[in-house]
Symmetry: C2
Subunit: 129 residues, 2 copies
Amino acid sequence: MISFDNFKLRDGIPVYLQILEHIKQGIVAGEIVNNDELPSRRVLSALLGLNPNTVQKAYRILEDEGLIESHAGAKSYMRLDGEKLRRVRDELIERVTLDAAEAFKRMGLTKAEAAALLERYWSEVEEEK
Amino acid sequence: MISFDNFKLRDGIPVYLQILEHIKQGIVAGEIVNNDELPSRRVLSALLGLNPNTVQKAYRILEDEGLIESHAGAKSYMRLDGEKLRRVRDELIERVTLDAAEAFKRMGLTKAEAAALLERYWSEVEEEK
DNA sequence: AAAACCGTATTAGTGATATAATACAGTTAA
DNA sequence: TTAACTGTATTATATCACTAATACGGTTTT
């Protein structure tokens, strides 16, 4: 069962996108693997204090991207082969890295300064339990 | 006059926040300094293809934060002293760095891997003209 | 078979983002 | 002084994200 223990809502970003991001990060991290079971729309929405429709929107997009399989009445499962894993990993890493690099550059920092900042702040990220 | 030449709209993020971000990044980069003149609401909205009210919303927030000064009928100017410069710089750097570090960590990367990625992608960021 | 789940769908309402069209009064430059 | 700007404000409309309350039928478990 896919875990949402370390999931914290951030404001300013649509919730359904945060759910998408959380699952894709889990895939890249290797925590989520093929055939893993997803929490039901009702269970996850109750757990996160959301409306089932918000979770459904995220799940629907994942299904459209071919990452999960859903059938009326049955539970939903991850459907990941090598090609999809590679695609998710490459897209996520590229987006996160380019966004950060772009922001650092716009602030006038050098490559070395940006890398040093990232390493300095690394341990300040809230630890996951 | 503050420049918006390298400003490109990204979707998924409220436009007024992107304007705020652009100006704050310019401040940190040292491109925007005290007493600099801001483009008028009408001029900037026309330049960016937006509604004047959208620009007004961003400028209003900057004024609330004490970074610009506006008076009916007159142009708007940056109002930056050492304390404000420090505040903007610290807040922006901390937010950008922590967001990136958090995303990298969630993907299961190590500090060294993340720093290496950032350096590898550095030159791939679209160059500003 | 029946109960307890499940995915899916629909309709309605709220708040935020953004557009559009004006209007008014203060400042500045010709 | 007058024309052209400026900031500021108001009202209306559209879209999106999200909530809320249901409903229907399929699957699974007991």
